[in-house]
Symmetry: C2
Subunit: 301 residues, 2 copies
């Protein structure tokens, strides 16, 4: 699982900072999460192949998470894309994109599917053989969802020594990988645990931005491997955070702690602060495994 932060600063694009967008590579799938202005250029700078992105998830319809979407969709067309593209986001995103395509007398060279979200409960929005994506309802000034990306558990691992000892025919291997027991020719039943090991633990990633401190998300993201949680402010601006429905670094860390996350990545920093090291220091007073998101930085898990 690899996460590339294309942008993780609040409010507006600036000379050296970009609004929210990130790319999650999970089980060889590439998911684009949020799409602030300039995302297509950030994709180029980070050498991410446009053609590999088939799913775009939009958390909410604020400009710093959205205004790069129409440009990205248009550029995909200019490059002659033919593969389907799916956009998941709040109701309204379809109208917004279609009006822009209509007024610019443009069209897409590919099928463009919108999956508009309205539910206030967590729901599955994407599922295939290897990955499942659920919404994480957040609390912000407008309707907002985070997204939980989960690998599905893989096959159990064959215990090669054991199956050979029992002289089990290869025809039964998949049954063992699927968790089944095996009956030998003499009628003895061999329990699956003797023939296989647990599969590699599936990884999970939760993207939570933008939101005020909101404990209701904890059951949804419990035990997540990596939690990206917005930290627009430091505790010194806690009142402002509450008023604007954003979080402080300490609050992000508290959610990570209570949700038993393994790792916390901070982001969505207000540009009012000099540098971002203080966000890490503040979060570490509560939770030990803290990483600082930053534009152009990749994390592999």
């Amino acid at each position: 699982m690899k996460l590339t932060i294309l942008g993780c600063y609040a409010a507006t694009p600036r000379t050296f900072t970009n609004p929210t967008s990130q790319v999650l590579e999970i089980k060889s799938r590439l998911f684009l999460i949020d799409c602030g202005e300039g995302t297509q250029v950030q994709l180029r700078k980070n050498k991410i192949k446009f053609s590999k992105i088939n799913h775009i998830f939009i958390s909410h319809l604020h400009g710093d998470h959205l205004y790069g979407l129409i440009g990205t969709i248009s550029t995909f067309s200019l490059l002659g894309r033919t593969t389907d593209l799916h956009v998941y986001g709040p109701k309204g995103v379809k109208e917004l994109i279609l009006l822009q395509l209509k007024l610019t007398e443009s069209w897409t060279t590919y099928n463009l599917f919108f999956h508009e979200l309205e539910s206030k409960e967590s729901e599955i929005v994407f599922e295939d053989q290897k990955v499942i994506v659920k919404t994480i309802p957040l609390k912000h000034r407008v309707y907002t969802n985070g997204f939980l990306f989960q690998e599905k558990p893989g096959d159990r691992k064959l215990n090669v020594d054991a199956v050979q000892n029992y002289n089990i025919h290869t025809a039964y291997y998949q049954k063992i990988k699927n968790g089944g027991n095996i009956m030998l020719d003499d009628g003895t039943v061999i329990e699956n645990e003797k023939l296989s090991f647990d599969p590699i633990a599936p990884m999970s990633y939760a993207f939570c931005s933008d939101t005020v401190y909101h404990e209701a998300i904890i059951p949804i993201i419990e035990n997540v491997d990596v939690l990206y949680h917005e930290s627009t402010f430091l505790e010194s601006e806690a009142i402002l955070a509450e008023k604007t429905l954003h979080s402080t670094a300490k609050e992000a860390a508290t959610i990570a702690l209570k949700a038993n996350a393994k790792q916390l990545i901070l982001g969505h920093y207000s540009t009012r602060y000099e540098g971002i090291e203080r966000f890490k220091e503040e979060a570490e007073t509560v939770f030990s495994n803290v990483l600082l998101g930053n534009d152009g930085v990749s994390f592999e898990f």
Copy 2:
């Protein structure tokens, strides 16, 4: 008169090139012309004060001239702007911006006025004491206007020696500057030309992008001081230029020659070419005063 090119490449924003946007400073007024994605960052990089821009002119509703507008408008609000902002552009631009503001549940902290254009004839779209702006109907795949920015002629310059020789009272100076003759106490009439010099010649700038080679614009831009004319292609791609309703560098130069422009600036280059020097070489086979527009370059006239 100062022109700052924020972006002058066709189609899509890339790592090192920006779509169309430029700032014209004329008689201390700052006009933003077109607004491709990333314009607000280019404004910052070029240290242009957001607060000084009160008028934005949009040539046509194609993404590479438009997709930065909503972000620019939003950022002006985030920065607490209170001064009126006027947007001039094709019909549809208002609906597009208002829908985005509505869906993002945003508003502007300032009055936002739209001046939607539909006419196929050249018309005055802005006029104040010192500057006048007219449309230049262009021929492109969608409804498109260029813009002609003209300084108004200033007062005539007082011939200080002459007025002192005739012993003319200072009370009459403004009349002389306005072009009036003066009657002396003895009844003699002194012609204005003996008392004043011609005013400094007013400057003019014509922005023409995007368009196919289109001689109908020549009477409108005749004798212009500076002509920015798109040159998406070189003559080797003349067929493609005609098909996509763009121009070649040679065609841009031909328009400059026929319109008796003093200076030609090229731009809107396709990124298919290695470097842009060849555009200048090709244009110079027809017209001698050619400048190459480039992102971040300023010209003073």
